[in-house]
Each structure stands twice: as structure tokens, then as C-alpha cells.
Symmetry: C2
Subunit: 234 residues, 2 copies
């Protein structure tokens, strides 16, 4: 039920196109749109009770933001290529260690409490083997510290490849052997937060990213050894 709003701002009003954009973004974030779904402007328009134009605006905007891909037959989830995923791991290694270091110094008590809660959720999820809850908790933990990044420009860049990170997460989370890695990583990071140790947070996150890349490569090779690209698993 937690509707994650658009990266930029948490405005609930404004134009129809904006509303549709936010709603669709929420669906995308919650994985409610599968790789076989085709989003067509007229259908969206009918659903929201508006004309094609706002729906079209929202879809094109999402497409341009990279959350959707325009085809000749509607909008679909972007085919995330293997190449692109590796590129983004590289990007993450450039940006996120420093970003989390800055965030470590900026997190307030309420945010820390929130992170602790998601961490507890993740632990419960690991013990019960609930992959979906694991996914959600991990997503929230990440979003938690990202929201504390004081450099707004940096934060925006990191949020932009959110869906790609999500796609990778979905692939790796299917293997429960990865769950302890995630919980341990987030626990260490949280400890660093509590100690205001930005260096430790940065280092641990860097290691976490490498672990994630390894897990992805393993998942990718076992899942589609012949293919060059893999799509989100709904």
C-alpha cells in the first residue's frame, strides 16, 4: 500500500498527466506491470476517464525517463540488456559510496528509526523465506538512505536508474541463498550509520555492490546462459 511517488517530488495534485504518471510509476515500482503487458494510451485514458493526451503525456514521459520503452504497439517494460546492467553497476560504484557517506552524516533520528524497522522486516523475511517481503524491505532500506543524500543532484541521478536496480534485484532475490548477503550488508551499513562512520558505510556499500554484481552474474548465467538480455520477472 505504500505508494512510492515519483523521484522528483511528492506532489499529489497538479495536472492529469502528472497524476497518471505518478500512478503508473507506483505500479512499476511495485512490480504490478509485467514484461508482457502492453500499455496503450487509449486504454490508460479510458481507465482514468480522461482523453488520450494526458495518458500519452504520462506514457511518453515515463518512456523518456527510462521506466518504459515505446514500441510500435504500445509501451512495455524496457528490455534491460546485460550490457546496461554492467554499466549501471559501474555507475553505482562511482556514485553510491560517496553518496552514502554524505547520507551517513545527514540521517536524522526518525530516518534511522525507519531504517531499523525495514532492517527488522528484512530479517523476518529472510527467516520466513518470504521473497516478496525481502524485496520490499530491501527496496525501502535503499530508498531510506537515498532520501537522506544531501546533494540533490546526486540523489536524482541515483534515483534515475532505480528500475534497473530493481530488475537486477528481482533476478537475484529469487535465489534465497542471496538473502543473508543482503541482510548482512544492510546490517553493517546500518551499524555504520549509527556510529556516523561514513567511511565504513561507503566501504561496506562498495562491497555490497560488488556482491550484488557477482550475484547478478551468477543468476544471469544460470537463468539464460545463451541470451544477451534478460527482462524483469514479474
Amino acid at each position: 500500500m505504500t505508494v512510492m511517488l515519483a523521484p522528483d517530488q511528492a506532489n499529489g495534485s497538479q495536472s492529469q498527466g502528472q497524476i497518471i504518471h505518478d500512478v503508473l510509476m507506483g505500479r512499476l515500482q511495485r512490480g504490478e506491470i509485467g514484461p508482457d503487458d502492453r500499455l496503450v494510451d487509449t486504454a490508460i485514458a479510458t481507465e482514468f476517464g480522461v482523453s488520450r493526451m494526458p495518458a500519452r503525456d504520462a506514457l511518453m514521459r515515463l518512456a523518456h525517463e527510462g521506466y518504459l520503452e515505446a514500441t510500435t504497439r504500445g509501451f512495455v517494460l524496457p528490455r534491460v540488456t546485460h550490457q546496461e546492467i554492467l554499466e549501471i553497476f559501474d555507475l553505482r560504484r562511482m556514485l553510491e559510496p560517496r553518496a552514502i557517506a554524505l547520507a551517513t552524516l545527514a540521517l536524522d533520528k526518525a530516518q534511522l528509526a525507519e531504517l531499523e524497522k525495514t532492517l527488522a522486516d528484512a530479517r523476518r523475511a529472510m527467516q520466513s523465506g518470504n521473497t516478496e517481503l525481502m524485496f520490499k524491505a530491501s527496496e525501502q532500506f535503499r530508498n531510506g538512505w537515498i532520501s537522506a543524500i544531501p546533494n540533490a543532484s546526486l540523489k536524482q541521478v541515483i534515483q534515475r536508474y532505480m528500475t534497473q536496480v530493481q530488475a537486477v534485484r528481482m533476478m537475484t532475490f529469487d535465489d534465497r541463498a542471496n538473502h543473508p548477503l543482503i541482510v548482512n550488508g544492510n546490517t553493517d551499513i546500518f551499524d555504520a550509520f549509527m556510529r556516523r562512520d561514513s567511511v565504513a558505510a561507503a566501504d561496506r556499500l562498495m562491497r555490497f555492490i560488488y556482491e550484488g554484481e557477482t550475484a547478478y552474474l551468477t543468476a544471469a548465467s544460470s537463468e539464460q546462459p545463451q541470451s544477451k538480455h534478460s527482462a524483469k520477472t514479474a
Copy 2:
């Protein structure tokens, strides 16, 4: 006359909105749009001989990309705040050294020749004191190596804050004392390119960015000592 195309692709065809988007982007890149210009969809539409819709699409897209800012009375250049400029310098230090290192290994002969030409232009501009040519040559040199970045995702991120970098450049270029710094920096970087020395290129670019930040701080303090934000100088 060299029309720089949109970051993403060099497609000359496609839809009207795409064409308008690319043309406006070119104007923005060449600094042909001043801080007092108001871009209105109807005016753009008339100019291109189309209806409001494609013009509106292009403007909204540029706005969403961060190249323009939507106001209640047309689209204008985004007010770049002092804070944001500092943030972007930080971002650049995270991304560009590694990016140029990767580019160093990927540049082909034609691209190197192109860079050498822009370097010669910059030297001429410095000697003749032609600030505008200096600006252009510097822009082209930067765009040159950026286009060679093999990591497409990284390239896109760097291109996204193009206009902000441009705004800063405009401020600093007004002071001709900065011109030698730019020429020297680009010369050293070009030499590193020729030697395929990616480490040297990265190091030199990092220094270049710091020099740029210093030059900006100087220009900002002398120009508007009391203000928190500065706009482009047309």
C-alpha cells in the same frame, strides 16, 4: 553551423516533436537562448509551421530533461543555483575522471583528429581574445571525448548536466585570465589521449574540474557577492 544534435542519438528524421526538440537543444547548446527569453509553445509552433502539440511536446521534454524550466508564462532557462553548481562539481568529480579514462581507450583516429582541431581553435581563440570562439571550441572538445565514452549509461548521466556546466563556463569564460587554464588543461588531456594514458587523462581532468570550481567561485563572488544564485549571462 555545426549543429550539435541531442545527446541520445543523431537522428535527423522521426517526428516533428523530435525535430523541434533537437533544434532547440542545439540552440541551447550554442547558447543562443538567453536567460530573458521566454519560449512559448505557440511561438515555436508558428516558427516550425506546425501545431502546438509537437512544440509543446518538445518543450515539456526539454523541461523534464532539465534543459528548460516551465513557468506559468512560458519556458525559460533554468535558474541554476549556487548550491546546485557546487553539487554538480561534486558529481563531476565522481564521474568524469573514470569516464575520460574509459574514453581514452576508446577514442578512434577520426575523433582524435577532431579533438585536435577544436584544440587549435581554442588556441587561436585565446590568442585573439575571442571569448565566443573559446566557448565553442571548449564545448566541442568536451563533447568530443564525452561522445567516446563507451559506457552509454554513464555518458547519458554526464550529458544530462550539460547546460549547468555550460552556465558555469559562460561565467568563467568572461574572465580571459581563465582562458590559458582551459587551453592548458585540454592540451594536457589531449596529449594523454594520444599516449592512450587513461590515468593521466583522468588525473588531469580531475585537476581541471577543481580549477574550474575555483574559477567559478572567483567569478561568482566578484559578480554577485550577495546573491545565492546566478543566472547565465547572455
